[in-house]
Symmetry: C2
């Protein structure tokens, strides 16, 4: 086992610290620190000597010690349901890109949509002294643990979800407007019987109220519900009565019900002529079943989905979709977070702009046609 000649066999001398640098440069710790931090006064000569020492020793400041002193760790947290989900993975990339620019790093925590895990996650992140958190909360109602974070002076931005009654800034897609536009498009093509197929969280029973002239959805703003709202609004604007049989809200926990719901619609006396699938999994299921049944798209059935996925452009016909860029949403959330971190620390912290709406785009392809 070779060792530098003469060097005492110290097992694994850890990295040089600022004392080593100071000694090497023949100055005091404080001076070295000043040079490195670029504050206070120091003579040109000393600056050079210190920098040289840094280079020669390969010194890298210890961010843990720095965090200890300053309270700022240079780390932010991202809390989401599941990082392997494409939506979150892209959002994560957006967050990372902004973080890199700000010389910060990102810790990810998965919650699997469990409130308890989310609570643990915030606690752990706090104990790591993160400078801020981007979170896609499990619940838009139970956010005491999130409020606790902001109250501790650590900014939080909510991604893809809007927290009711809280000063927390949220970054969302214009789900309602985009859906309205999409449905308008179908209506413009002569469709009158347009089905809505979406998902719901188990925690939010779809409180759908369909009256003679008006239909509405109770509950907080959530992507899934806002899309239903957009759908109802478009119908209402076109004076098309909403039909309960054409609206399916399937719990995410019972994926097998997706196919059933669609099959039921196809079996109706007056089946729909167009399908609006409000999320990627639903679009996939619908396309699947339609193909299986040999239903011609768009001749017999138009299909329009929310979320662009790889495959929508590989199948025939290619699926028309409303796209939201989760990458952009992640970026926007991180931008807002760093902006808040810059501000006078919590004081009136999260300004007025409680909401950033990231635009969606409509990608017209070949799965939508005129009504039969």
């Amino acid at each position: 086992m070779a060792t530098e000649p003469g060097s005492r066999e110290r097992p694994r001398r850890s990295r040089p610290n600022i004392n080593d640098v100071a000694r090497h440069a023949g100055v005091s710790r404080a001076t070295a620190s000043r040079v490195l931090g670029g504050y206070g006064y120091s003579s040109q000569e000393v600056v050079e000597r210190v920098n040289q020492a840094v280079r020669e020793l390969g010194y890298e400041p210890d961010r843990i010690a720095r965090t200890m002193r300053s309270g700022k760790s240079g780390v932010i947290g991202f809390v989401c349901a599941d990082i392997s989900d494409a939506f979150f993975a892209s959002a994560m990339r957006g967050i990372c890109d902004v973080a890199r620019r700000e010389k910060s790093q990102v810790i990810v925590m998965n919650t699997d949509n469990q409130l308890s895990q989310e609570q643990d996650a915030t606690r752990v992140l706090l104990s790591h002294k993160v400078d801020g958190i981007v979170i896609t909360p499990v619940s838009v109602r139970e956010h005491g643990h999130i409020d606790a974070v902001t109250e501790g002076g650590v900014p939080v931005v909510s991604l893809d979800r809007q927290l009711s009654d809280s000063g927390i800034h949220s970054v969302v897609a214009d789900n309602e407007a985009a859906t309205t536009a999409a449905i308008d498009h179908l209506i413009g093509l002569g469709h009158r019987r347009i089905a809505f197929l979406g998902s719901t969280q188990p925690e939010e029973p779809p409180a759908l109220r369909i009256g003679r002239t008006r239909a509405s959805v109770a509950g907080p703003s959530r992507p899934s519900l806002d899309r239903v709202r957009g759908y109802l609004r478009a119908l209402s604007a076109a004076a098309i009565p909403a039909d309960r049989d054409l609206i399916a809200l399937v719990s995410l926990e019972e994926p097998e019900r997706r196919l059933e719901a669609l099959a039921a619609m196809l079996a109706l006396e007056h089946p729909p002529t167009a399908l609006f699938t409000a999320d990627g999994t639903m679009t996939k299921s619908a396309f699947h079943l339609l193909s299986e049944r040999g239903v011609a798209i768009p001749a017999e059935m138009s299909l329009l989905g929310f979320d662009d996925l790889d495959w929508t452009t590989l199948v025939r016909p290619r699926i028309s979709v409303v796209v939201q860029s989760s990458y952009d949403m992640g970026r926007a959330a991180a931008e807002e977070l760093f902006a808040q971190m810059g501000r006078p620390a919590g004081e009136g912290g999260n300004g007025q702009g409680r909401r950033t709406v990231v635009p969606t785009r409509f990608l017209e392809r070949e799965s939508v046609g005129v009504a039969r």
Copy 2:
């Protein structure tokens, strides 16, 4: 603004620390720490009092301070090309799941396949005092910065890549064997002209040597190259001479060349009867072009790919593929990492098992048929 009566209006009293707990429990800091750490002696009564204080104050130990003392941060790093890539996102999830069990957190860094960014990433992670790193290195040759990490006593595990001449443990799929098996399958179906379409990193020019009786690939073990090797081995075993015209290795930086390469093969006097696409993007491109050209799969052309993706089961015919579970690979890498972290710190650290091979599976679907 309500405040506890009598409590001085301190602006934002940060979280309680162990001093507060000790005082609250009427013991010394040391005693509180002992109780919390569960070591040394302490009377039953004191234990109770301390625990009570912890509960009442909502005390949570500061992991930064702990890290400072102990050198262990409870954080590991994951360095990959791009977390929004499905492969890495799944691997990340695997890593997170193991980390959670070990009460650790994960910091992610993207390199975009830039060596310089990878070097920065390792440096930054080290300065955060991570306990270990899982990395998918950009280069399998230039790994000085990675060696430096292990030499500093911080274990590293390489994911999906094998570092030449280094004691670093790697977790890989059985790329070569799986490809051989896949090609064998095609040969068994009567195919003789089997094309190989794969990608290469710009840094590793495809040093393909095709002799009269033997063909080989120079260079280190890398998924892309190992798949070529598997292909050549299968052909060789079946005494089918390798044909340079049927092997396309396209640089990842020139994606437009993928279609060209395939088009060229289709235009050959004796075009292939089967296509083996060695990665997801290639499979996608191939399917795309084949559809465009109206080439019937598998009647006119069999298609067999590496990597299972969502869409491969949505298109018709569904694509037969060799699957590797990046989630499992992530898990395996993290398991190995924590195992190393447990061992006597670097001392003979990375044992003998330099390599973990995660099995692949062959999913037979409908895109492969007998040779014409």
